[in-house]
């Protein structure tokens, strides 16, 4: 009895420890601008991509959306590269990059489908956000926007209401634990003003009626290479958050925003977060930008000896079964030829669709048929008019 009590105590303690934490990290990084002069928006997103990858989120848990091709663009004097600084010290495109949605695939519809996981059955895993209620998600968006909207590729726009509803649907479907929403666009803070789902920490680059500005241009690339807000975020992440064990908090990140340097008023929205401002500010930067490997022990009551022994036996049985099936299939299969003939029979009825052969018929046959048909009509008309005349 006593031992059972200690087991129970530890199990409860374990649940208490893990329930407040997340077990996976995901990042959705979206640039919404096409065309070469928006180079900086892709550079923004790729900078974030490099940062979260450096801090441990694997490619399989990063959804990267790039609406245009900057690296292999004919206008790019530096083929295969994208830079976010005029010193060109870091090639953001590098040798190892996986872009999940690119070109015309970056649309509002695809973005919302990705968030809410309403996708077709053929959608590959790499293009899906396979999160659960223990996943922390970083959503970063950049592009051209305005009061409560963000343009996608100059052709359509997502409104703050759409985004808020998509996040609410995610919450209802238990698709996130906590979310950091970060947006760098003009009047960015209006984009998160409509959110109403819990556990979202949101930050944006500028207030309503304020523009977000680019940081600087590279004369050889020929365009601006990064936006100010993203630049100073990166500056903090790269100089302060150097290794995954960093204990810096989101509060430290928000305090580092200097309105003099950013040239706009960055905003933070704490009210949706559990624990309010204090709770949000005490979250680690690594909770959103890094990858954790917390393992949750399921059930907590699994300390029972017989259960895990039973499970072990079940696994053994599965292995035996797999071995047996493997050995069976190594024996030359006798049913295959039968299957083939079956198919053959089925096949003979089938007619494959496709292009048809065009035959040019230059013989007199058809022309005679045509002439006869015409003459026949003439005859009918003549007969008809003759009968009419009879009346």
């Amino acid at each position: 009895m006593n031992s059972l009590q200690t087991v129970l105590f530890f199990a409860i303690a374990l649940i208490a420890l893990t329930s407040g934490e997340h077990t996976s990290n995901w990042a959705v990084l979206v640039s919404t601008s096409r065309f070469w002069f928006n180079y900086r928006h892709l550079a923004n997103v790729l900078s974030l991509y490099r940062t979260v990858k450096r801090l441990g989120i694997p490619d399989s848990q990063i959804i990267l959306m790039l609406p245009d091709d900057m690296a292999c663009n004919p206008r790019n004097a530096f083929p295969g590269t994208v830079y976010n600084n005029a010193d060109r010290a870091l090639d953001l495109y590098g040798d190892n990059i996986e872009v999940d949605y690119r070109g015309y695939e970056v649309t509002v519809e695809n973005f919302i489908r990705l968030l809410t996981d309403r996708v077709g059955e053929d959608m590959p895993r790499s293009k899906r956000l396979l999160t659960d209620d223990r996943s922390n998600i970083l959503v970063y968006m950049t592009g051209h926007g305005g009061n409560e909207f963000l343009k996608f590729q100059d052709a359509e726009e997502i409104s703050a209401f759409d985004l808020a509803d998509a996040f609410e649907q995610m919450w209802e479907k238990k698709r996130y634990h906590e979310m950091l929403f970060m947006i760098d666009t003009c009047q960015a803070n209006t984009m998160y003003s409509k959110f109403y789902s819990p556990n979202i920490l949101a930050t944006g680059s500028s207030e309503i009626d304020q523009s977000s500005y680019s940081h600087h241009a590279d004369n050889d690339v020929g365009v601006a290479v990064i936006d100010r807000y993203t630049y100073y975020n990166l500056d903090f992440l790269e100089t302060q958050v150097r290794e995954p064990s960093s204990k810096l908090t989101m509060g430290d990140l928000f305090d580092s925003y200097d309105e003099e340097k950013i040239h706009s008023h960055p905003g933070v929205r704490y009210d949706l977060f559990s624990g309010g401002e204090a709770g949000a500010r005490s979250r680690l930067v690594m909770d959103f930008f890094g990858n954790v490997q917390n393992v949750e022990v399921e059930g907590g009551f699994a300390g029972n000896e017989t259960t895990w022994q039973e499970e072990l036996q079940a696994i053994e049985r599965m292995i035996d079964e797999a071995k047996r099936r493997h050995n069976e299939s190594m024996v030359p299969l006798s049913q295959h030829p039968i299957e083939n003939t079956e198919r053959l029979v089925r096949k003979s009825v089938l007619k494959k669709e496709g292009a048809a052969k065009v035959n040019v018929d230059s013989s007199w046959g058809k022309q005679i048929v045509g002439a006869v048909a015409l003459l026949g009509c003439l005859g009918v008309w003549a007969a008809g008019s003759w009968l009419e005349a009879q009346d």
Binding site: G80, D122, G354, A356
Partner: protein
Amino acid sequence: MLSSLIFLLSLIFVTCTQADSDYHERLLLRPLPQSALLASFNFRSNESSASFEHRNFRYFPRSLGQTLQHAHTKELHLRFSLGRWDAESWGARPWDGTREGGTGVELWAWVDASSDEEAFARWLTLTNALSGLFCASLNFIDSTKTIRPVISFRPEGHHTNSSLLNLHLLHGTLPHEVVCTENLTPFLKLLPCKGKAGISSLLDGHKLFDASWQTMSIDVRPVCGDGSECVLEMEQTVDMVLDIERSKRPRDNPIPRPVPTEELSCDTSKPYNSEDSCYPLDKDAEPSWSLAEVFGRPLKGACPLTDASGYESETVCINVPTEREVQVNTSGTYAEERHEDGLLRCYKLPTGVDFDLILPEQVPTANLALEEPPLYAARSINGHGQERGSVQAVITNPSTTSAIQFVYLESLPWFMKPYLHTLRASISTSPSSNPIEETYYRPAVDRHRGTHLELLLSIPPASTITLTYDFEKAILRYTEYPPDANRGFDVAPAVIRLLPSNSSPNTKNVYLRTTSLLLPLPTPDFSMPYNVIILTSTVMALGFGHIFNLLVRRFVGVDEVENWNTGGLKGMLKSRIERLRARFLGKGKKDE
């Protein structure tokens, strides 16, 4: 010359498939005129069909293997291409054009299915899975971009006659698709040495996507030797033509700068030659280059999975004249072998240490003869206006002796509607004869499928065929335009397959592709709907407002207003009260 070399190499490859190792790789380097360099990478791995069925993958990448099994695909060909092969200066194509695709992405596969619908469903599964695997928008290959070629493609692998009946060939192209580093990354991850060792360590996106022409291919096909067990063969190739001068520029400073005056070699015979004016002389010498310079990174020794000895172990070959000096720079042990009368030098790479080939600057004494391509083809859009246009394809047979029979395949988007009755083909040497022998045609259906036109033609020696047809441009719906509609719409390259002639029995396939076309369609002013909405609202407001006013308002003269000046709420209330009072008072009067 070149293609025959490659053919020979591939022959040796095929005969060696029964060797110890099931993984082979080879890089063939060949300098081309005008300081270009052709690099052909070839990677080949085998997996026995039985172990493939049981999902025991050794060299075959598991991700691709499972995709193929899931989509019931028996043979797969996938191409990513960029640029144009300049046949006039570079001669015949590597691999006879069989490992090449049209600009953008091209995919064709033989899918096992019992009906057309099932085949198409599996094809969609395949394209979606490949789009995730290769970071390309292959999921855009839908029914409008899919055709079922009749005579242009034949299975490369060995399929039994009974299984062939169930195989459906589907072909799709994305001419607008960009090919970039994100496509190379998964391509390298499919290789057993993953770009860490062996010749694949030379593949760098920064150089590959800066090449004048490049194509990446993946081919999966079943190969059955006589009597032995069938294997599933996977072949990956990368072919690129690098501009040596351009590739040698440092990556951090790729913008060409003027040569310093003291390094200029001037033509002193020019009358204006002086201190400050110079007519630069062409250099006679071939430029110097090394592997590390042109590929931007060193070759990191041999991939340990290749054969340890024999011809298969020689994984780097260079095809230069016998007089050309080639230096080897490595700290490990390597071996050099000469084949083809010394024209082909092959090297066995050391393991674990860097290997570099250095070709110093040298004045060439003899040039390698370029092999003439069997056909030249060019295609263009003619005409003007927003409504119709015409396509002209010019195909030239340079051979003075042999006639060539070939297949011309066009896959047009649905919004480009050709008139088949305007299809004309004329031969320069005999204008009266018709070179079209067979025509296969499937007309487009708006928004459901594109046009598929396949022609069998024959071209007499030393003559040119001009193929023309007119087409009409459809008007798209407002939402069907892409975000960059004013750029135009890409039309997939035409595929030309040369049929083996009756006189020469060797049945190798030769393919070539034209460039893609840019079709300008009438594009609306995309702000127009907003203008229309605004105008409509204005008209509604004016029209409705006036009629409404006429119906419910009462118009009075200015002089009549005097009597109405007790308007407003106060006036209304007052009048009500007046009326009520009048009624009560009136009643009272009656009572009196």
